[in-house]
């Protein structure tokens, strides 16, 4: 066989088949079969008729929504300041925000737990608040970085042009900087919103009884109900696909500003 560049793609193709395509097929298989391997859609109908499961879905949405919003409110001003200021120690400040990502996750959450415990006395009294705080702490860097990446690449001349045309600093921000940083916001939101729906490890570690989609899937699997768990995982996958499609159409309007997309 003649060597061509296509040959270089073989290892990756094998990897894709083994670790992406095959597991997806297995997921589909389990989702649409019962315990005896027979085709069924009862897993699907079961999910949408189970008030518990639907309740968990709604609760997860609410939790993710609040977490994402809080992350956005904390991250945008931070990213904006980092990207536009002329301070000399900029790399140090960025490091301070990125560093927690390098520290072991369970150590960070345990530390947070001790702090919350000391403040609240009884952790189980504020499950929703604690969940939001834990997730925000965990996911904040994923919101800051994509927004920072977009703002730092915005040409200064655009804000200058807005100011030159009579816009106050605030209006220049609202009409130029903010709309142009949408791709960063979209990618930050998708980095936070989706994991926040499933990352039940954070909640478990905070001795939290809160039940989210991740916990639900986990509970099915620990009861050896692979079929039900797979169906829920598939439903989440669909939600993620829809979300990504939506955010891609948002970004497509703005082909000139790239670099925010981490996904």
């Amino acid at each position: 066989m003649k060597f061509s560049r296509k040959v270089l793609g073989i290892p990756y193709a094998v990897f894709l088949l083994l670790f992406v395509v095959a597991p997806l097929l297995v997921l589909f298989y389990y989702a649409f079969t019962n315990g005896d391997g027979q085709f069924t859609i009862s897993n699907l109908t079961g999910f949408f008729t189970d008030p518990n499961a639907l309740g968990t879905l709604c609760y997860s949405f609410a939790l993710s929504f609040v977490t994402t919003l809080l992350c956005l409110f904390l991250a945008y001003p931070t990213a904006y300041f980092l990207a536009t200021s002329k301070i000399k120690a900029k790399s140090v400040v960025i490091m301070i925000f990125v560093m927690p990502m390098w520290i072991n996750f369970s150590l960070r959450i345990t530390a947070l737990k001790e702090i919350l415990d000391a403040i609240e006395g009884n952790l189980s009294a504020y499950p929703f608040l604690n969940s939001v705080l834990g997730m925000t702490y965990d996911f904040l860097p994923f919101m800051i970085l994509p927004i920072y990446n977009v703002i730092v690449k915005l040409p200064v001349s655009l804000t200058e042009a807005a100011r030159d045309l009579g816009a106050t600093p605030w209006r220049a921000f609202v009409h130029v900087t903010l709309p142009m940083s949408v791709p960063g916001i979209v990618s930050g939101v998708s980095m936070v919103f989706l994991p926040a729906m499933t990352n039940y490890v954070v909640l478990d570690m905070l001795y939290n009884s809160t039940y989210i989609m991740g916990s639900l899937i986990g509970s099915y699997f620990s009861n050896d109900n692979w079929n039900g768990g797979s169906m829920i995982a598939l439903i989440l996958l669909l939600i993620i696909c829809l979300f990504t499609l939506f955010s891609n159409t948002l970004e497509a309007d703005d082909s000139s500003v790239r670099g925010g997309a981490l996904l």
Binding site: E160, A161, D164, L165, T168, H175, M180
Partner: protein, 430 residues
């Protein structure tokens, strides 16, 4: 208050940045209402910084910018009745053409119907009728440029600033836009301040050219003045092509340079050291006996409109533009009419050097210790018992924190054949 004919006056404008770089130094300029003024100079000469101070993006370190007699140097850009066409257009990519142009009027809370009318009018002016709903990214460079001009002009600014607006266009497009900008300027009567490093563009378009170098104005004048009567060698060299020779006046209206004797129209005192500037198109190639100087043709390049011929004459080299070709290796004579020679009194040849203070608190240049009294240079300083230099408060002066510039007059340099023996005499520090 200033002359009411002047729309804008810059008085003693100086700009140094935080890192100590002095971008503009003592800039003085008056611009009349309706003039087309060009700031011309190589990159880094301070022309863009000056423009940014007029627009309001930079604040002068000192000096005043008077707009209609009022100091605006500290007003934020959105209050100034001045608009800018940016180097890379800076159109808003998330808005269409209409929204881009309407942006300025919206800030002024102009009624919608009026905005619509104005945008339509200005799009006609720049020949882009019907482009309202196009996206910025679908336009060519030239079209984007027109939108940028329209976006600035729609606000009816008192002054339009243009920061190298044609730099990104190809040659043909650039020539077209030069003419169109010139026509727009004539029709609208708005004052244009134009920044470029392209001398041809400056000569074509301007009423007045400000030639800048290293943060300072070298010459202000009409294109004809700047081209025909350059004030110094920098201007002569930067504007057009020039043959520049050092020489001396040998009599009334007679000068000697480039190995020949020339009649001049400039009357300078006999014996004065001069610099002579001769434009390549002012030199005629004649037979060797007819010319004031002669030489050997060393190079001929075809340039389309003319030939560029280089002739070597002893130590000198003359570049000539001629419609007739010449043969490399031929001996030719060169003739220059008196009005083709521009005489400038030679510039002050004082040499300036950065010198360092070494660890022993002595001045050092290129490894040579200069015999100078540092206590006289640094006010209030004296030497302590260890011969270290201390300031008025008795604290030791850190050599790295001191910058000394030595000025050496040509007459003070003694020539010796032993390099080790060269004596430096540092005079008053700058």
């Amino acid at each position: 208050m200033g002359n009411s004919e002047n729309i804008i006056e810059l008085k003693h404008i100086t700009k140094s940045f935080e890192d100590g770089f002095a971008a503009v130094n003592d800039f003085n300029l008056e611009i009349k209402r309706g003039e087309f003024v060009t700031f011309l100079g190589p990159s880094g000469c301070g022309k863009t910084t000056t423009l940014r101070m007029i627009a309001g993006f930079e604040t002068p370190s000192s000096g005043e910018i008077l707009l209609n007699g009022e100091d605006i140097s500290h007003l934020p850009p959105h209050i100034r009745p001045i608009n800018t066409v940016f180097q890379r257009y800076a159109l808003f990519p998330h808005m269409n053409i209409y929204e881009n142009i309407a942006f300025g009027l919206k800030q002024k809370k102009t009624p919608k119907a009026e905005i619509k009318k104005q945008v339509k009018k200005v799009l006609e002016l720049v020949d882009l009728e019907g482009f309202e709903h196009r996206n910025v990214s679908t336009l060519s460079g030239g079209q984007q440029q027109r939108v940028a001009i329209a976006r600035a002009l729609v606000n009816k600014p008192e002054i339009l600033l243009l920061d190298e607006p044609l730099g990104a266009l190809d040659l043909k497009m650039r020539k077209e836009m030069q003419l169109e900008l010139k026509n727009m300027h004539r029709e609208l009567g708005i004052t244009f301040i134009y920044v470029t490093h392209d001398q041809e563009e400056a000569l074509t378009m301007s009423d007045k050219i400000v030639v800048m170098s290293a943060g300072e104005i070298q010459q202000i004048g009409t294109p004809e003045d700047i081209y025909n009567e350059p004030k110094n060698t920098f201007v002569a060299d930067f504007i057009g092509e020039s043959n520049i020779f050092n020489g001396i006046m040998t009599g009334s209206m007679k000068a000697r340079f480039a190995g020949g004797e020339f009649i001049t129209v400039d009357d300078v005192k006999e014996g004065t050291q001069i610099t002579a500037v001769i434009r390549p198109e002012d030199v005629q190639i004649v037979s060797p006996s007819e010319g004031q100087i002669k030489g050997i043709v060393s190079d001929v390049i075809f340039k389309g409109m003319h030939y560029e011929i280089t002739v070597e004459s002893g130590r000198y080299e003359m570049v000539i533009q001629s419609t007739k070709s010449a043969t490399v290796g031929d001996q030719v004579g060169m003739k220059v009419e008196p009005d083709g020679i521009h005489i400038m009194i030679a510039e002050d040849h004082t040499n300036y050097f950065n010198v360092d203070m070494n660890r022993d608190h002595r001045l050092e240049y290129n490894g040579t210790i200069l015999d100078t009294s540092l206590t006289k240079i640094i006010k209030g300083s004296k030497r302590n018992e260890d011969k270290q230099l201390v300031d008025a408060n008795g604290e030791i002066i850190d050599p790295d924190k001191i910058r000394i510039i030595a000025a050496i007059e040509p007459g003070d340099i003694k020539m010796t054949d032993d390099a080790e023996e060269v004596l430096y005499r540092a005079s008053s520090p700058a």
